[in-house]
């Protein structure tokens, strides 16, 4: 347990950096590898701009909570058979709780500066992220069904013969929608975006902004590790050791999520809400029903 925590804490900084590098690929700016570090350092040297009558405590803590939720979510991912940081029989539910609390934290981040654009972003985000979270719950139950367990370790072991990606092909794409929402990017970035001048972080500057971006990247890592575990067999794989497989799969999901965030356009929120409730949620029901029929004895 302690060993797994240590490995995770060691692996997280390079993975966060990798996430920032992925975000930079294709923007035509050069300095792929060093750019994120330099920009981060420059942000750290800038001051935090005050706003009028903010909720100081929550404004200060929101990035920290976001990061903490990413860490807790990451902690249920098994690195190898029996090597889990938090070995719970209900790991999937804990991940679900992290998702739900992320919505709360993003709302607090937008609410606490006491300014119009952050508040609009916070509101929009909650309206979109709650149904997206609902979606992920059905998808994760689908992943748990073949394992007959809510433990993430059991979900991996149940994929020894065939990955969940093959068994339930709808699962990963639907789960990616949640990943985009959790990590505030692309089509699901209703907390931010150019049309709100940065949304919840429109008033942030300096270290607070750097911390928020760091936490966002860490959440991308946590989500990718979870998606790789629930649908791509986690640490399972031939020849290479388990943790390395997990790392490779995590990087692949990270790249796919970043690419999806670049490729799909953000809809006006009302249209996205319709899409979520009318198309994506029924799809997740269908996914669950198919999995249920499949695992019938």
């Amino acid at each position: 347990m302690i060993a797994a925590t240590l490995y995770l804490l060691l692996a997280l900084p390079p993975l966060v950096w990798a996430a920032a590098v992925f975000d930079r690929i294709g923007t035509g700016r050069g300095a792929l590898l060093a750019g994120p570090l330099r920009n981060g350092a420059a942000l750290l040297l800038r001051p935090v701009a005050p706003t009028e009558a903010p909720d100081r405590l929550n404004r200060l803590l929101a990035p920290g909570w976001y990061l903490a939720l990413a860490l807790v979510g990451l902690s249920v991912v098994p690195l190898a058979p029996g090597l889990v940081a938090s070995d719970l029989s209900t790991g999937l539910v804990l991940w679900g709780a992290c998702e739900a609390l992320t919505v709360v934290v993003v709302f607090l981040h937008g609410w606490s500066p006491n300014a119009p654009f952050p508040l609009l972003g916070a509101y929009r985000y909650v309206a979109i992220a709650l149904p997206a979270m609902l979606l992920s719950m059905f998808v994760l139950i689908g992943a748990a069904l073949p394992a007959q367990s809510l433990s993430v370790g059991a979900v991996v072991e149940a994929q020894r013969e065939v990955w969940n990606l093959v068994r339930q092909p709808l699962g990963l794409p639907l789960f990616m929608a949640l990943g985009l929402a959790l990590t505030l990017r692309g089509p699901f970035d209703y907390a931010g975006g150019a049309e709100l001048a940065g949304g919840t972080s429109a008033e942030e500057s300096g270290p607070a902004l750097a911390a928020w971006r760091l936490a966002r990247a860490a959440m991308l890592v946590a989500f990718s590790a979870m998606a790789a575990t629930a649908f791509l067999g986690g640490y399972l794989g031939p020849v290479l050791p388990g943790p390395l497989w997990l790392l490779l799969k995590t990087l692949a999901v990270m790249a796919a999520t970043v690419a999806a965030g670049r490729f799909f356009a953000r809809m006006p929120p009302a249209r996205m809400l319709t899409l979520l409730w009318v198309v994506l949620l029924p799809l997740s029901f269908a996914n669950l029903a198919l999995v249920g029929i499949e695992v019938l004895p």
Binding site: S89, T90, V93, L94, G96, L101, V104, W111, L150
Partner: protein, 200 residues
Amino acid sequence: MTDALFLVLSALAVWSGWRVFRVDSMVRASFQLLVSFIAVGLIAVLLAAPYIGIATVFMMAVEMMVMALFMVMFMMNPAGLNPMSMVHQHRFAAITGGTAFAGLVAAVLLSDLPANPVPPEAEAVRDLGRELLGPSMLIFETAGVTLLATMIGAVVLSARSGRYGESDAGSVPPGLTPGGAPAGRRPAQGGGHHDHHWGH
């Protein structure tokens, strides 16, 4: 270790529960309540009920998020600029709450509580699952149907289209007393705002 954690978490649960009614911003109030729920959920995890505990955190995070939105919607004190107290029958409420607490504590201390703890080898989550989809399936399904009925009822109740046409359409609202002056907004006063200035 467990005892220390329990002490900290219960203190947090009670303190944040108390703060719910003491902070001036309703968003803070609803997230204080969330903190209280999270603390209770973690106590449940300590009590060997991991599913209930974490599910409480999960459910309450969503519920309090919705609560916070409603709070902001119906908040009479935007941004906390006006000092106001939205409390009535304060003394009666305090005495009743205190009495309830004292009575419950007395009941706890005076009664002979059965001691039959969960055996350490019990698989709480597996047992719960078998119970839910086995002997108690009817109860579980009934809860599901109730929730569905609630969803439909809530949408019907809160939608604009009411029983006698649009629920907010220009007609004069009914009086608060029979034959009394219409309640709510009066167009003659030149603008929709709250008519009631209770408080204190």
